[in-house]
């Protein structure tokens, strides 16, 4: 919890800094809101809430004719499942995007556009639990709706840079592409209808190499001539501005392709004015992600310090809310892969050992007299905003020190008869084992540092 909170609190603080407002939606949505939005697999894995109405009552209501009534009654008499539920009307949220779209449509008259919201909540999927796959897990999303400005794209790049840098990541790439460039590439070889095959093949460049990509393209019906035209685009190299110039040359006959280049250029110009801390912004035309969904920018974040899949992604979409009857509302959003970020930070040892979430000092005493002596000290530590505990009198000293060790409490104060007489308490650094005799004022000072 302490570590997960550290990640979420850091990301949230950056979202807020950039003007995003937190919303939360209820865990349950109407079944009709969610069904059909995530494909067959999603419909199946969605966790549905049982209604309290029995199947028996439901069937009788639906089939009031005499014949059906007899069949139904006979059936239930035989099998006795009067307690069986009918179909549910609600389900647990499956992601944060669809509930957000529902929220925007429902509150369209109250929200001010552009609407910048972030959301960090659990989602549920009824999969069999396995390594890295949980029935309940957290998503962490930010989106702007109602603003076509590319400033938003630039700000998301800055948010990734600032949040991941704050978490201690030193070297990571924010990859950017644009759906319009992918359309342009398909355009210039006259294969707009095969854009999916094309991007799926190009996307594998890293894994299967150029030869593999060419083989796959030939299999999918692309000609040698098509592939010759594609080669310079696929093998794009160098800094972003060189890549962009090569793209402009290759896409000079595609209006949409050039539009994509212009959009990327605008985003790069914004970023030039606000230097990134640790991120490298990389134009990567092999990046496709949920292609059918995105209409403009496409993002993905990868760390270079640990072998790990993408730790974030997103893009611009133009039809988030049309499924709920509100068309033409443009949006752009990103999400952080919190579980993978956790694993990266764990491997790189980036979690701070000293957080303000845990107890800093445990006061130990031998008896009720020591306990009474300890109370004003405890009170004074807490008045100085130091997280402190007093172990209730009566336990053996070993048990008290074990408690401190088990809870990773870094300091202990021991109060025995010597200590009460002299006013000098035994202050112990649990990591080094170093003990000192200090007065109350010195101890408070030491812990306030």
């Amino acid at each position: 919890m302490v570590r997960r909170n550290f990640i979420f609190d850091t990301i949230k603080s950056v979202f807020r800094k950039y003007g995003y407002q937190q919303i939360e939606t209820p865990a349950m949505e109407n079944l009709s809101t969610l069904m059909g939005k995530y494909g067959d697999e999603g419909d199946k894995l969605m966790l549905k809430i049982r209604s309290n109405k029995s199947l028996h009552d439901f069937l009788l209501e639906k089939h009031p004719d005499e014949y059906s009534k007899n069949v139904i009654e006979e059936f239930f008499k035989l099998y006795g499942y009067e307690w069986l539920p009918r179909a549910s009307e609600r389900a647990l949220r499956y992601d944060l995007t669809v509930p957000f779209a529902r929220y925007v449509v429902m509150h369209q008259n109250e929200i001010t556009l552009p609407f910048k919201r972030f959301q960090v909540q659990a989602v549920w999927r009824g999969d069999r639990p396995q390594r890295g796959r949980y029935v309940e897990f957290y998503q962490c999303d930010a989106d702007v709706v109602g603003s076509p400005s590319l400033l938003n794209e630039a700000e998301f790049i800055m948010i990734y840079d600032e949040a991941l840098s704050k978490l201690g990541l030193k070297d990571f790439n924010i990859k950017i592409n644009n759906r319009k460039i992918l359309s342009g590439i398909a355009d210039v070889i006259g294969k707009s209808d095969n854009i999916i095959d094309l991007t799926v093949a190009i996307d594998k460049l890293d894994k299967i190499g150029l030869d593999g990509v060419i083989k796959e393209l030939l299999e999918k019906g692309f000609t040698i001539e098509d592939i010759e035209k594609l080669k310079p685009v696929i093998l794009l190299e160098g800094p972003n501005d060189i890549k962009l110039q090569s793209l402009r040359d290759a896409l000079k006959d595609s209006t949409i392709g050039l539009k994509g280049c212009d959009e990327l250029q605008t985003v790069f110009n914004y970023i030039a004015n606000c230097p990134l801390q640790n991120a490298t912004l990389e134009l990567d035309i092999t990046l496709a992600r949920g292609l059918n969904y995105y209409t403009g920018a496409i993002f993905e974040v990868k760390t270079n310090e640990v072998a790990m899949g993408s730790i974030g992604g997103g893009g611009r979409y133009d039809d988030l809310t049309s499924m709920f009857g509100l068309p033409n509302l443009t949006g752009v959003g990103i999400s952080f892969g919190a579980d993978r970020i956790y694993d990266v930070m764990d491997e790189l040892n980036l979690f701070p050992s000293d957080t303000n979430q845990t107890t800093k000092v445990l006061i130990c005493c031998f008896d009720a007299e020591g306990e009474t002596y300890a109370l004003p000290l405890l009170h004074s530590l807490r008045q100085n905003d130091i997280n402190a505990e007093l172990y209730p009198a009566g336990a053996k000293m070993k048990k008290q020190l074990d408690y401190a060790n088990n809870k990773n409490i870094p300091y202990t104060i021991v109060i025995g008869s010597d200590e009460m007489e002299s006013g000098l308490l035994t202050f112990k650094d649990m990591a080094s084992g170093l003990q000192e005799r200090l007065g109350v004022k010195e101890i408070v000072e030491r812990l306030t540092l």
Copy 2:
């Protein structure tokens, strides 16, 4: 969200200061963990998750004989409900206490006793939504298990005092009673078996007065003689130590009653060493709450500033985990009534207007040139940890200022051609309407204050 977070963050920080660790449990528990723990009403209102297995498959598995197979197939052919679910095996958590008990039993070999945990999570009840009753709402609990020391009771009083004072409450009573005193009172009139009738009647003193209480006691079979003995106890007055002395006199023949007095005295002694900020600690023997549940201390918190039910409560219980096969584990806990605290703070206007959760300044510009000019300023504000936004170029100034007003952004910076030429930007306090022309450095300084 901003206001709710303010309440929860404040309470959480106090829990941590006192050495409590946050835990979260999954939203879903096994149905068998939850059923039967909250009475018939609870079993009914509990939200159960539908299993993905169809009723069709479930019935066929259960009734493999040829005759049943035909009946079942015929039935489903006729009514077509192949998609119907069988009974669920999981349900959404109904409160935080039962999942916590399950957690303690499950992790009994890993946790260090005393185990001090807090938990702030949603719970679900399938009630028809109505004013003040929601299907999904938050509970906010802290408990210690495995520590019989009354220091814990004293610390909970301090936690209430510190958290509610931090939230801005100036005058509230923390009422304390002890189950053993209530037992003692029933004891001295020889009516131990009627303790429930007795406490239910006494509990109404505020509402129906002494005459009403006497009437109810007579109806429940208490004698005039009983009532004469009870009167001095019911009408207890004065400061806590006077009340306690009167109780000791009245309960002098009850071992358990005197034990209750001793326990209260111990708690009062602890508190005497750690003065409370704004709370009044009040011995109130009419306080019973979930009587069957509590075995020692009973708490309840009421504000004196607003007419409102209790904003917190709790007590000591000795059998939290016995329902899961781990008997004799003592516990004591409290909970904060976050929804009511919200209403109290709202009525008393206690929510801070300036939280660090919202945007502090909006930069407005007329065109793309202004936008480019604004970027380094935006960057510099954020580097100084000021929550800042830049409205994307292209919108009318009125729309931009409306955006600031709708989002309660307290300051705006306007960048027009004059401003870019002179380097003096128009800085506006949105509340007072006051405008000044300031340089970038001055603006950053002004906002950092």
